[in-house]
Structures are given as structure tokens and as C-alpha cells.
């Protein structure tokens, strides 16, 4: 039985399910309990599951993740919330030095099934540090898995799957999509957490993207249709590991690839995708892989953020350029 849920509400429902299914699941972060989270993603959970399981923490990101490590060693499944992307950096050391490496350095003896939820991305007219896209740092860290939902259906399932995974997962939520709605059917069989999805089929160009940019790519593809162009859109969903089968199958079909994401282009995840496609599809590519990303600057002030973010026009400009080769 489906219901129409916003992405934020779908996460809420997914978290609720996770708390119900496994008594070892804990939620912890700043303002997640009584307030229900600054985006209301954890709304109502503390009331139903108690302060010991939905924990309002002191204002210390490093400790949110560091204590989660200890809790995980003790056998719990902590779900940490970092309130905003730009505030993950105090916890960065605990994430990349401790969380990422523990399974490896303990020869598999110490598992850390920690989920670290981070709202990310821009386009909400915010002040500084609230519109970052730090996913590349975490994708670059072996030992972590990184996923990003783009819509309410994925959000509902992926958060549960991430919590169930025995690996530490950095879970990115596109904050400007928190209010986007979709029909969520809890009785459906979900895709694997690690699968990419062809969200729009096409034959001329493949757009590879994730998170907040998926919707923009779909809108661009719809607009391109009126120009007689048939664009395929692939939602990566899992950023590390990437489902290369789906990506490469698509690129071999269309022979033209464009990677779209908000994060600054230099040394980004988009660059890894471009490099690997170029290596694996060398003979099939009609044009070089293009990247439509944020510029290599700090995130700009909100009045000009629309010029910074990849939007419909910039994506279609890249489509023009790739087709002109």
C-alpha cells in the first residue's frame, strides 16, 4: 500500500522501520531527539523509541562519530547525523582514520556498522557552509562505502539497507530535495543498495549523476526531447562502490557520456567516473567524457549559486558540445 511521501518523510519512515527491526539501532546527533532534526527527518522518533535510542548529543561532531565507534565495538548499530555537510570536517579524522580503517587493521575482527547521515548539496539559498558537496573526500577513502539517494523511494529503502550493512556507510541526502514527493510502497522489493539505475532511457547521450542533480538531469532530458534528442540518465545511487556494469552498458550504447554533479570539478568523484569510462570505453566513445560540475571555487554566495550549480542549460550545453564532436 503506497503513500505519497516527501524525501524527508521517507527517510523518517525508513529510520522508524530500522529502529523497530533491530533493537541495536541507535540514532544520534545534534537536535535529532526532541526537535526531530533541523529538517524533521527524525521527527517523532525519540518520543516512540526513547532517549537512550534517539540521542540528543552535545555539540561535537568528532565525538558523534568517535563515540559511535565505541558503541559499534560494543555491538550497536549507530546512525549518526551530521547536521550539515559543511560541519562534517571536525569529524573527518574519526571518519577516515578510525571508522574507515578499523575493519582492515583488525583483520576483520572489529566491524563498525555505522551509518553517517549527511544532508548535502546547494540550491537552498543558504549562508556559508550549508551547501557543500564533500562526497569526493569520502569516496576517496578506502574502507568507507558512500551512497546518495535522489528521491523518496530510494531514500526509504536505502537508509534501511545502509543501516543493515556491516560496513560503515556515509549516507548523503540531497537537502534541496527533502520536500520532493513520490509514492512509496513499503511492500515493494527494493533494488540493491549498490545498484545504479537508468532512470530515463535514451540513445544519444548518457548523463551520469546522483543526489540533487538527478532531477535536474531528468528535466534537461525532457527539454532536450523537444529538440529531437534522446538522452539517457543514470542515477549512480552508490558512489563508492560504483555499479560500473550499468554505467558502462549505458555509455557503450550511446557512445557519449557526461557526468553531472554539484561538487567542484577538480579532483572530484565525477573525474573518477570520467577517467574510468575513458579507460573502459576507449574504442566506443564518439566524444570525450564531459563533466558538468561546480566550478573549482568555494561554494559561492547564495545570490549567484544558480550560476555555480549545474542546471538545465549547462547540461544541455554540454550535450550540444558532445554531439558536435
Amino acid at each position: 500500500m503506497s503513500s505519497t511521501l516527501t524525501l524527508g518523510k521517507a527517510l523518517n519512515e525508513g529510520l522508524r522501520k530500522a529502529l523497530e527491526n533491530d533493537p541495536k539501532v541507535l540514532i544520534m546527533g545534534e537536535d535529532v531527539g526532541r526537535l526531530g532534526g533541523v529538517f524533521r527527518v527524525t521527527d517523532g522518533l525519540q518520543k516512540d523509541f526513547g532517549e537512550d535510542r534517539v540521542i540528543d548529543t552535545p555539540l561535537a561532531e568528532s565525538a558523534i562519530v568517535g563515540t559511535a565507534v565505541g558503541l559499534a565495538i560494543r555491538g550497536f548499530r549507530p546512525v549518526c547525523e551530521i547536521q550539515f555537510d559543511g560541519f562534517v570536517f571536525p569529524a573527518f579524522d574519526q571518519i577516515v582514520t578510525q571508522v574507515a580503517k578499523m575493519h582492515y587493521r583488525s583483520a576483520g575482527n572489529v566491524k563498525l556498522p555505522i551509518t553517517i547521515r549527511i544532508p548535502f548539496g546547494g540550491g537552498i539559498g543558504a549562508v556559508e557552509h550549508h551547501s557543500e558537496s564533500p562526497e569526493s573526500y569520502f569516496c576517496h577513502t578506502p574502507g568507507l562505502k558512500v551512497v546518495a539517494c535522489s528521491n523518496a523511494v530510494d531514500a526509504y529503502w536505502m537508509i534501511q539497507q545502509a543501516i543493515e550493512s556491516d560496513d560503515p556507510i556515509v549516507f548523503f541526502e540531497p537537502k534541496r530535495r527533502y520536500w520532493d514527493k513520490a509514492d512509496v510502497d513499503p511492500s515493494a522489493t527494493p533494488k540493491s543498495l549498490w545498484d545504479a539505475e537508468v532512470v530515463r532511457s535514451g540513445s544519444d547521450v548518457t548523463l551520469i549523476t546522483y543526489g540533487p542533480s538527478v532531477k535536474v538531469c531528468l528535466e534537461a532530458a525532457a527539454a532536450a526531447e523537444t529538440e529531437g534528442r534522446d538522452i539517457e540518465v543514470v542515477d549512480l545511487r552508490s558512489l563508492s562502490p560504483i555499479d560500473w556494469d550499468t554505467v558502462l552498458t549505458s555509455v557503450r550504447k550511446t557512445q557519449r557520456a557526461i557526468v553531472v554533479s554539484e561538487a567542484p570539478v577538480y579532483a572530484s568523484l565525477a573525474s573518477e567516473v570520467a577517467a574510468r569510462i575513458s579507460e573502459k570505453c576507449f574504442y566506443e566513445l564518439e566524444s570525450p567524457v564531459l563533466r558538468v560540475c561546480g566550478f573549482s571555487t568555494p561554494y559561492p554566495t547564495s545570490r549567484i549559486e544558480e550560476d555555480y550549480l549545474p542546471d538545465l542549460d549547462r547540461i544541455l550545453d554540454a550535450v550540444d558540445r558532445t554531439l558536435a564532436f
Binding site: L26, D52, R53, T57, P58, A60, S62, A63, V65, G66, T67, A68, V69, G70, L71, A72, I73, R74, G75, F76, P78, P90, D93, Q94, T97, Q98, K101, H103, Y104, R105, S106, A107, G108, N109, V110, K111, P113, P142, G143, K145, S165, D166, D167, P241
Partner: protein, 364 residues
Amino acid sequence: MPQSVQPSEGPELVQLLTPEGERVEHPDYSIDLTDDEYRGLYRDLVLVRRIDTEATALQRQGELGLWASLLGQEAAQVGAGRALTGNDFAFPTYREHGVAYCKGVDPVTLLGLFRGVNQGGWNPHDKGFQLYTIVIGSQTLHATGYAMGLQRDGADGAVMAFFGDGASSQGDVNEAFVWSSVFQAPVVFFCQNNQWAISEPLERQSRIPLYERAKGFGFPGVRVDGNDVLAVLAVARAALERAREGSGPTLIEAYTYRMGPHTTSDDPTRYRLAAELETWKLKDPIERMKAYLSRTGIADHDFIEQVDKDADELAAHIRAGCLALDDPDPLTLFDNVYAGGSSLLDEEREQLAAYLSSFEGAHS
């Protein structure tokens, strides 16, 4: 040349055994041990020192790349280690070989990290002793989290987080103090103040005695003579009991001295005076125990000799174990990155395997 802070300047330094080996009383802490227990502690001290000196020798002989010596800190570690019971979990730094010994971790397994053949050779869950944490202070948060887990499990047990004077400046340690106090977590913070953080003296880490910092976070702090195994044992037991009964954290500052270098690659003569070492030699933790046991007759000459023999045996075990630690197969570098595996890594492993077997002399 900077000097270390002298204990006589501070108040309260819990001591039950003087450097000369005399038993003294303290109003808040006492210890009541059987003769066997006293002898056991002495043996622990000697064996722990021997682990350390043997490992140092092995490093000087090229068998270990590095060793972090605990010379001089035996009493602090044995006192704390023997206070821990079966349900308690310890989170060390990288120098707590004495605590490892007390928790039943085979000293040979400590060597792998320093030899470069693994990154931690024991299973933390087996012995309640986490792998060494080299990033300073991070483990205090892990310890706090573990303690919060004990609370949620309603389990009997406490956590001890080990760190040094230098670590007390780290953000993570201070965050751990905040969290453990607001959540009243069952964790004991055991700080071995050995006066030096590589070349930085204590005064570079704090303007007040370290144990007094706990008050600022809302929990008790106590300074103990770190070279007095009896006092450390008493104070540690009390703090762990406090934690277990739900009264929250305690900060123990074990006042001791790092007799050796920071690690075998360090040269302390560049930043501290030989005279300081001489002063601390007079406070040796083993000598005072030996003096006490001899004077009281709790231990006789035969016992002392036997302990030395046990130490030789342990040393031989460590030496043999060290030399037997083989380099890992290069392909194992892909193991255990993820609990759930990775097809990308499988691919990389295959590529490396193919590459390595393409060389002359390689097995295909």
C-alpha cells in the same frame, strides 16, 4: 632546557608505597592484599619491564622497525591493568604493553604492528583490549562510546581509556570529557602523565595540574603516584567501581616519568637533562616494590630469582615469536577492507596477482 613539574609543588598525590619501599597510609585510598597478590604484582612489574627491554633490543637488532618503550611506567600500567576485571574493556594508546600483559594479550602479538607485518595482531573482543590507536586521543571517544553502550545494555562493567599528558590537549579528549560527564558514562580516564610528549614538556599542555581539569568538566580527578603500583591499583579500583555503580567518569592522573625515548627513533638528549633521569631513577617502581617485599619477608631471594628466570623465559618467547613473524603475502593487502567485500578490490587483486606472477622467479 625545560624542566618537568615537580610533584612536591602539587597537593594530593596518592601514595601508598614510598620510593624507598615503605608502606604509607592515605585517607581516601587503601589496599588490602594477600602475600600472593603482592608477589604477583612484583612479578608483573618485572615481566612487563622485561617485555619492554627485549622489544627494545630487538629493535636495535633490526627485528622491529620501531618500539615505543614504557620504561619507568610499569607500575602505572600494572596497577591499572590489574584493577580491570573480566567485563571491563580497555582502550590503550600505543604504549600500554603492561596493560596488554595484564589483560592476557600475548606480548608477541604486540610486535606485529612495530615490525610492520600487521596493524594489530590480536582480536580486541577476545581480551577486552582494543588495538593500539596511534592518532593521539581518538580512543578516548571510542572508550566513551563503548561505555555508553554498556549503559544501554545494562551490563556490568566499565571502560578504561588510556592516554598521556600530551593527549589531554587534543579536542577529542576534551569532547570525551564532555560526553562522558553529560551522559554519566561508566568510563575511567587514565592519564599517564610521563612529563613529556616527545619533546614537549607538561607545561606546554596545561597551566594547571592535569587531574584538576576534570573539575571543569564536572567529574572528579585524582592524582596518584604513577610509580607506586599499590596506589595506582587502589585508585583505579575505586574509579572503576564508581563507574560501574553509575556515578560516571573519573580522571586519574598517574604521575610518572618516561625513562626512555618517545620511540626508538627519538633522541631525548636533545631536549632534557640527564640529571632529570637520575632523579627519577630514585623513584623506580620495581626497586621500591622489591625493597618492600624483601624487607617484610613477603618475598625471599628464591622468589626474586625465580621471577628473573620467568622474565628470561618470557624474553626468549618474545624473541622467538618476533623472529617467526613473517612478512605477509602482498595479496593480503586487499583483505578485510570491507565486511561486505568489494568487486573493485577483487579486480585490483587479480591485476596485482597477474602482474606479480609475470616476473621471473615468481610462482604463477
